[in-house]
């Protein structure tokens, strides 16, 4: 037959049959059948070419054979995938002799528009494992005879391949693990992409193969031969099988849709796949009967469900190959093994349960993920299996309320919180504990910037905050410092976990919806009202900072409007961090240094604004929501209410809850009986002492002195006074010598002593001298240079001084005493400590007026002298 007419005929039948396969797929959606038929089609073409070009006898000539490898070897030819073909020779001479037929064979295939991936090797070459070409040896694991010398093929399959695998199993596993790791890294180590490439991403088709190869290599290493049945354990095989059916159909669909080997699940193709229910089996979606319309988001959830199963299997199989890890990794893992506890043991970096029945106790379950979050370890396959078994019982009576919140916050605060959350999520534990998160489970929201699904975006945001601590980048470090300064970082993490939940509710504004969902979640967790308000504030405002960035951030009106919306420095800090993490988790390029700088500029401008505008006074008769609410709660008459609130700085109302203000009113009311009212509480991080009394000279200096004399370290403090001269001071301090913690009886003595000092009944100087004698000077770890800055412009009635200094015992007392000695009245004090740095801001007057320039110089000289030298 003339070559051209022969090729013409082949092309004709190829086109006809391909169209047939496509038509059938469109009718049935059966991807597995489509790839099998295409494999047969290509095989029949190869056989005809073989007879035409190489030998009329399929089993001839000697020493030469063609072998299907890779996907073709497995019998999985997708409509437009490459055809992996090995030209196998017994020796070099035969290879040389068949050079031209091989060239022609390949050429004809190309002319038929079949994309050939050819390899040409002698049998001896197949016997060598090349670490730079792991893919070739791996592709042999799927080898299948097509035509030529059968005996040659048998030698390859039955002798050479088992020999290579046995000899080089470690290197082969290592190589396979490495190429897999590189591929996963390329896709950000996550399967939750908005438009995933379903072949290459973690949990994609390629990973199904990796799972098979890993199991096969291990089995061959043991058996010294090919195993008779699938080397995968039955449950794993079943899970992979379901995923495979889905992925095969989806990939066929994409190939037909694009008319090329493109495996990207673009948004448009997701819509179409959902409409056609590609790959969907009955039972894939519990809440809809077959035939119901399936949204693209639901179809993607099914996809992510399968991808998640594949990824888990591959990860576990990779973890099971100790040989595949570097020596350093092993060392680290065995170091980690020392972490074993009564509940859990750690072997090779994997967590096992000490008691198989342990998980019947929900607390052990929660402790397990807390343990994971601390150490960054993975769960072993058996542990995962046991968790899955324990879930139905747990679902009947899930842990909730304060106990769950306690475990959750402890987990959120740990360095590997995001990994623990991901594991909980993938095992469906997270949505069991917080069903609100189901709304964003594997949710694809289409916008131009986001790259990941909503749940993964959330985990990434949490992760990026934890990573700040180790980061080397200048901006990360700067924001990392802010993170260490937070009073309640767990609230920020909870806000991040819930900030986008509203995206799962179609239509409308996601911020509003998130607030509703977050409220429900916090009901479930029984979060305390004050903390709840903080979390809701962060969620409600999570786009505010970005919005402010679109205005002129160097304009003081933009800054003051934004700062006032934040209200307190603590909220400003949390929102700044939330914004930073949120932008960072959108996609790896979203947070440019330019943007990081803009966020920072706005932060410091707003922070400065808050610290310099604390003296805007309350007008108790004004009609705003907060005052109206306070009025309705007030335990005192309306004239007393007015007298108490009139003239307090606005900041007073921002830093105290309504309940606290009410308590202060009661204390103020009792001043006629006892002129010094003191209350002591123990908070989560610090002790809190509240003082209500009438203002007098040296009051703040005396109070700080009394605390210093007891060895207390003041971390934060606010001192405010109203028009009538009633003072409300709140001191947060740590108990350096654990006096209060260890001796309950000391609480009363401490309070009495503070009152005694304030009433002038105790000798403060003597107490301070005694304390000084008993203390050895500690050496500061970080040197903080003293800075004293005056600001006469920000406040109309007071002069603001900010003192930055090395934190040390009695520092605040010395500063306050020095200011009082200099005839300054402390109208407001805002005291903060960040690590070793004390940042104290005082609003001063002298004889009821601002300080003169001359007076400022004198005060500065006196303060510098006081703080110089130790």
């Amino acid at each position: 037959m003339a070559a051209s007419s022969f090729i013409g005929e082949l092309r004709g039948s190829l086109q006809e049959e391909s169209a047939h396969i496509q038509k059938e797929f469109e009718a049935t959606g059966d991807g597995r059948a489509a790839v099998a038929r295409r494999t047969q089609l290509v095989e029949s073409i190869l056989a005809r070419l073989w007879r035409e070009i190489v030998s009329p006898d399929d089993a001839q000539p000697l020493n030469f054979a063609i072998v299907a490898t890779g996907g073709f070897g497995r019998g999985w030819l997708f409509p437009y995938s490459d055809i992996d073909l090995l030209f196998l020779f017994g020796d070099r001479d035969t290879e040389q002799a068949f050079k031209d037929p091989v060239r022609r064979f390949s050429q004809e295939l190309w002319d038929l528009r079949l994309r050939l991936s050819p390899a040409s090797r002698t049998l001896a070459e197949c016997d060598r494992y090349d670490a730079n070409n792991t893919e070739f040896t791996i592709s042999l694991l799927d080898c299948r005879y097509l035509a030529g010398d059968r005996d040659l093929f048998s030698r390859l399959r039955d002798k050479v391949i088992p020999k290579v695998v046995m000899r080089d199993s470690k290197a082969l596993l290592h190589g396979l693990a490495e190429v897999t790791r590189v591929r996963h890294t390329k896709y950000g180590m996550t399967l939750y992409h908005l438009e995933p490439n379903l072949k290459e991403v973690p949990g994609g088709l390629r990973d199904c193969n990796v799972a098979n190869w890993l199991a096969l290599i291990s089995a061959m290493d043991k058996l010294h031969d090919w195993p008779d049945a699938s080397p995968l354990r039955a449950p794993v095989r079943k899970q992979l099988q379901a995923a495979l059916e889905f992925l095969m159909s989806a990939r066929c669909f994409l190939h037909f849709r694009y008319g090329r080997d493109d495996n990207t699940l673009s948004w448009e193709s997701q819509d179409e796949a959902a409409a056609r229910r590609i790959g969907v089996q009955i039972g894939d979606r519990r809440d809809s009967a077959e035939g119901d319309a399936l949204s693209a988001a639901d179809w993607m959830r099914i996809y992510f469900g399968h991808a998640r199963a594949v990824q888990r299997t591959v990860t576990q199989l990779l973890e099971e190959i100790p040989e595949a890890r570097s020596a350093l990794y092993r060392q680290l893992q065995s170091w980690r093994s020392r972490l074993t506890t009564p509940d859990f043991s750690v072997v090779d970096g994997l967590i096992f349960l000490q008691q198989p029945s342990g998980l019947q106790n929900p607390e052990v379950m929660l402790r397990l993920f807390h343990f994971m979050a601390i150490h960054g370890l993975k769960l072993s396959a058996t542990t995962e299996h046991r968790i899955e078994q324990a879930l139905p019982a747990l679902a009947a009576t899930p842990p909730q309320g304060a106990e769950l919140w306690l475990y959750l916050q402890e987990t959120l605060l740990q360095p590997y919180a995001a990994d623990a959350l991901r594991a909980m999520h993938s095992l469906r534990l997270l949505t069991l504990l917080l069903p609100e998160l189901k709304l964003t489970d594997s949710l694809v929201v289409r916008d131009f910037y986001h790259r990941f699904t909503v749940d993964e975006h959330t985990f990434l945001a949490i992760e990026s905050l934890h990573r700040l601590k180790q980061s080397q980048s200048e901006w990360d470090k700067r924001y990392g410092e802010l993170l260490t300064e937070l009073e309640d970082p767990e609230l920020l993490y909870l806000a991040l976990l819930l900030h986008d939940t509203g995206k799962g509710i179609p239509g409308g504004n996601h911020v509003e919806a998130s607030l509703e969902v977050a409220s429900r979640a916090m009901d479930r967790l029984d979060v305390d009202p004050k903390e709840r308000a903080e979390v809701l504030f962060l969620i409600a405002n999570h786009l505010e900072l970005s919005a402010a960035l679109r205005r002129d951030i160097f304009d003081h009106l933009t800054v003051s409007a934004f700062a006032e919306k934040m209200g307190t420095p603590e909220r400003l800090k949390m929102l700044t961090l939330l914004t930073y993490a949120d932008i960072k988790a959108v996609n790896p390029e979203a947070l440019t240094p330019w943007k990081a700088e803009n966020v920072w500029q706005l932060y410091i401008a707003a922070e400065n604004h808050l610290n310099r505008s604390a003296d805007h006074r309350v007008q108790a008769s004004a009609n705003d929501d907060k005052l109206a609410r306070l009025r309705s709660l007030a335990p005192v008459t309306s004239s007393k209410f007015k007298e108490f609130l009139e003239g307090f700085p606005q900041r007073y109302l921002l830093v105290h809850t309504a309940e606290e203000v009410m308590r202060h009113m009661q204390m103020a009311d009792a001043l006629s009986i006892d002129p010094v009212q003191v209350e002591l509480k123990r908070g989560r991080h610090w002790y809190e002492l509240t003082l209500v009394t009438k203002d007098r000279p040296f009051l703040f200096a005396t109070l700080t002195g009394a605390l210093a004399a007891w060895g207390m370290n003041i971390v934060k403090a606010n001192a405010f006074s109203n028009q009538a001269g009633t003072v409300v001071d709140t001191m947060h301090f740590t108990d350096r010598f654990r006096t209060l913690e260890l001796n309950l009886s000391e609480w009363a003595r401490f309070k009495n002593s503070v009152v005694g000092v304030l009433l002038g009944e105790a000798d403060l100087d003597k107490m301070l001298r005694d304390r000084q004698r008993s203390e050895k000077g500690a050496i500061a770890k970080v040197k903080v240079e003293t800075k004293i800055e005056f600001d006469d412009a920000s406040s109309p009635a007071t002069t603001i001084v900010q003192v930055i200094a090395q934190d040390r015992p009695r520092l605040l007392h010395r500063i306050a005493s020095c200011l009082s000695d200099q005839a300054c009245n402390i109208e407001i004090a805002l005291i903060d400590t960040e690590g070793q740095m004390a940042i104290d801001t005082f609003y001063l007057t002298s004889a009821g007026k601002k300080l003169t320039a001359e007076h400022c110089r004198e005060v500065k000289t006196a303060l510098s002298g006081e703080l110089r030298g130790e």
Binding site: R550, R551, F554, E597, N608
Partner: protein
């Protein structure tokens, strides 16, 4: 053909973009830049440390336009980006010799 480079306040990007679209400008390049002109930046003190902002974050737009469109585009930018305060930015115009569409080698104004 003329190339317009406009350095504007970040806050004005959206306004300038829509003003340009209104007069018929179809394509542009937007860059995140830093710099200063006669407005030298300023210094913020944060916790006793000075953060001097001598290079201020700005937004730069670049576009190459057929000559007939240039005046309209410049007026649109001026109207949308002006606040009257220091730091509003600058517009630079320069002649462009040739434009070539890579896809089909089309040249001249047709390639814009």
């Amino acid at each position: 053909m003329t190339k317009i480079e406009a350095i504007i306040q970040n806050s004005k990007l959206e306004a300038v973009k829509s003003a340009l679209q209104e007069v018929g400008v179809e394509g542009m390049t937007v860059l995140e830049v830093r710099g200063h002109g006669r407005q030298k930046g300023h210094t913020e003190v944060y916790r006793g440390r000075e953060y001097s902002v001598d290079l201020i974050p700005k937004t730069k737009l670049e576009m190459v336009l057929p000559d007939a469109l240039v005046d309209k585009a410049v007026s649109a930018i001026l109207a949308a980006a002006r606040t009257g305060k220091i730091g509003d930015g600058k517009i630079f115009l320069s002649r462009v010799e040739e434009a070539i569409r890579i896809r089909n080698d089309e040249r001249g104004e047709g390639a814009l």
